[in-house]
């Protein structure tokens, strides 16, 4: 299995509070991604990174920001959490821009009350 960890694995927070989720990889892969999974929607891309300090928006980026200061870490921040951001968040990595083959972390379940 690819070396990908996510922290925390579970979090409950209140509306309006900032939240940061961390994705850490030991594979030295260039590309990293954040997805959210909601019932009936599959997984949807939030943000992605194609290198240190190189990030771009995905399909559902509103309300989220990301940072990547090191190859191994990709942070997802909810500046002011809302109930609509209650979801399961997955990080993924890839070493190929061309083939798109991605490997996923274990996921973080976030509940915003």
């Amino acid at each position: 299995d690819a070396g990908i960890t996510q922290s925390p694995r579970h979090k409950v927070t209140e509306t309006g509070t900032p939240v940061t989720l961390r994705c850490h990889q030991t594979e030295n892969h260039r590309y990293m991604y954040w997805y959210r999974q909601d019932p009936g929607h599959g997984l949807r891309l939030i943000h992605y990174s194609y290198g240190v300090k190189d990030t771009d928006k995905g399909e559902v980026s509103d309300g989220y920001s990301v940072s990547r200061s090191k190859t191994e870490d990709f942070l997802l921040t909810l500046e002011s959490a809302t109930s609509s951001q209650t979801s399961v968040y997955f990080c993924a990595i890839s070493d190929s821009r061309a083939t798109s083959e991605q490997y996923f972390g274990p996921g973080t379940r976030l509940t915003v009350t």
Binding site: Y35, G42, L43, L45, A98, T99, F104, P106
Partner: protein
């Protein structure tokens, strides 16, 4: 915009039998990749199989095979000799070639396997 549709929210199969999960997609691109991912109750996303659009030959991985119909934009997954461990949510996904790996997922099909 590209879309991926899985029209079967739930499927069921008897152990040792064969089941086919359907997926259709919409794209104007000629070069792209298609994937099937498995998500068991552990929630871990596991890559099952990958198909390159430029290849006419259908991909196969042990008991898993695909039926890729490019003109019809159809990409079904066949699971042969189903096992209890195959019970999971299955997602079909699309990615445009050389686009930095941005995956577009279908809604998923939940497969149950009856002993």
């Amino acid at each position: 915009a590209q879309t991926v549709t899985q029209s079967q929210p739930e499927m069921s199969v008897q152990e040792a039998e064969t089941v086919t999960l359907s997926c259709t997609y919409d794209t104007s691109e000629s070069d792209y990749y298609l994937f099937w991912y498995k998500q068991p109750p552990s929630r871990q996303m596991i890559l099952v199989i990958r198909q390159e659009a430029y290849k006419q030959q259908n991909a196969t991985e042990n008991r898993f095979s695909v039926n890729f119909q490019k003109a019809a934009k159809s990409f079904s997954l066949k699971i042969s000799d189903s096992q209890l461990g195959d019970a999971a949510m299955y997602f079909c996904a699309y990615s445009k070639y050389n686009q930095g790996g941005k995956l577009i997922f279908g809604q998923g099909t939940e497969l149950s396997v009856k002993p």
